[in-house]
Symmetry: none
Subunit: 282 residues, 2 copies
Amino acid sequence: MIEGLSLLASSMPDLSVFQYNAVDNIFSMTVATMGAAALFLYMSRAHVDPEYRPALLVSGIVVSIACYHYFMIRHSWHDAYALVDGGYKGPGAAFNDFYRYADWILTVPLLMVELVAVLRLPAAKATSLLTRLVIAAAAMIALGYPGEVIADPARWTERVVWGGLSSIPFFYILYVLWTELTNSLDSQPPAARKLLEIARLVILITWAVYPIAYALGGTPDALAAKAGTADAASGIVGANGVVGLQIGYAIADMTAKAGFGVLIYLIAKAKSTKSGEAAYAA
Amino acid sequence: MIEGLSLLASSMPDLSVFQYNAVDNIFSMTVATMGAAALFLYMSRAHVDPEYRPALLVSGIVVSIACYHYFMIRHSWHDAYALVDGGYKGPGAAFNDFYRYADWILTVPLLMVELVAVLRLPAAKATSLLTRLVIAAAAMIALGYPGEVIADPARWTERVVWGGLSSIPFFYILYVLWTELTNSLDSQPPAARKLLEIARLVILITWAVYPIAYALGGTPDALAAKAGTADAASGIVGANGVVGLQIGYAIADMTAKAGFGVLIYLIAKAKSTKSGEAAYAA
């Protein structure tokens, strides 16, 4: 068990200059996007009614945490490769997958908090909802991680088992969010309704990326390519797989955190009724 | 296709100490300008009426993103050259053109948002206008990038095709902005009218720099110089071309983002009617 988990970080296939730079650049762009979203969310609190400001503060915290982790992920990417003979060879140090899980452990529960906060449900309902969602989110991430770090192609079925277990709280969360958002629509002002429908779709689409990426990264071929034991042909497939996985995660994170945060702001703005000094005194 | 795109970053001609430092210094000055503009725009929100503060916040976000990217561009410049025998030789690592495109992907749509926000058009009109502008901006940047990364002199006609395709949304945006700004003049207070006419001109002049720089950087001679396959004479032209391109982009970015942001502030100030605590409560 310990041996299996000893690869906290993935070993990586060789990449072309194009493949290496594509991932490097999307990581930098993600740092910029998360940082910009954090500045926007912190400062735009002054532009909504006071009761919606905690939702924007939490949204800002989420993208700040993500900004830090993408900065660290990018450094880990640099450390994992060296330019040799016109191509990038790995591994120098191994690329650290844990940053992404650390980010999810901290930010996924906070994403639930920002959504529930902007809905402004009755207190008892909000507490019950949040308790269930946060426990499910923790279980989802904790169960996914042991599978993610399995790099031995012979153990891919174990990866499937952890992925399957992690999917139970995953689908539970999606079900709860979808039904609660749908139920809450009637009690929301018309201007916010359309935005909440968009938020519901953003959650469904961006969250779908994570299990798909997990599945694609866990086929025996992909694992063999990561382990460097695959032949040349599947090695190229493996390299493209790694590049697609990293870019896919980055785009999903930008949408699910920065894009979702801006949606939370727009919902808060649509629900804000005060104007003049009261709303802008902060 | 993939081979053509494999140079996500340009290879660069040798530069004199003067040429290298000229670019290095303008990058540093751009970081300072963008950072200073960000501080001004964030804090000057308190000096305008509440309804204009989101426009200033978005303007501040734009220059913050540009500040980050020029910091990264300057580091990439340092990595791309080494001082050898009294001159700067490239490439060490290749200079990364993508930072500039990442910056544009994020900031050009936000520039549209800050302009529409300060005009305070009716909501339905603002939404329709922004949707068209943001889609066109994304198409413009996405179509320009495949051409920008072509470094093979034999493929310069492909560069022309991408540039031509990118020009369609570019001219569409300029046309929409020009006509909408012109139409909006009558509904704006007299004090803001003159400033909006200046904003119209700033957009027209600074935006013209980008296609001109793209065209100058894409002649067969310029590409040959970048690829290091040109003879000495066109090599000097190529080096001057690279220096001119980088300085031109930097000056255009400072004007189109920091200068434009200050214009947005002046327009907001001219349109602000409240005085005393009501306007200054923040």
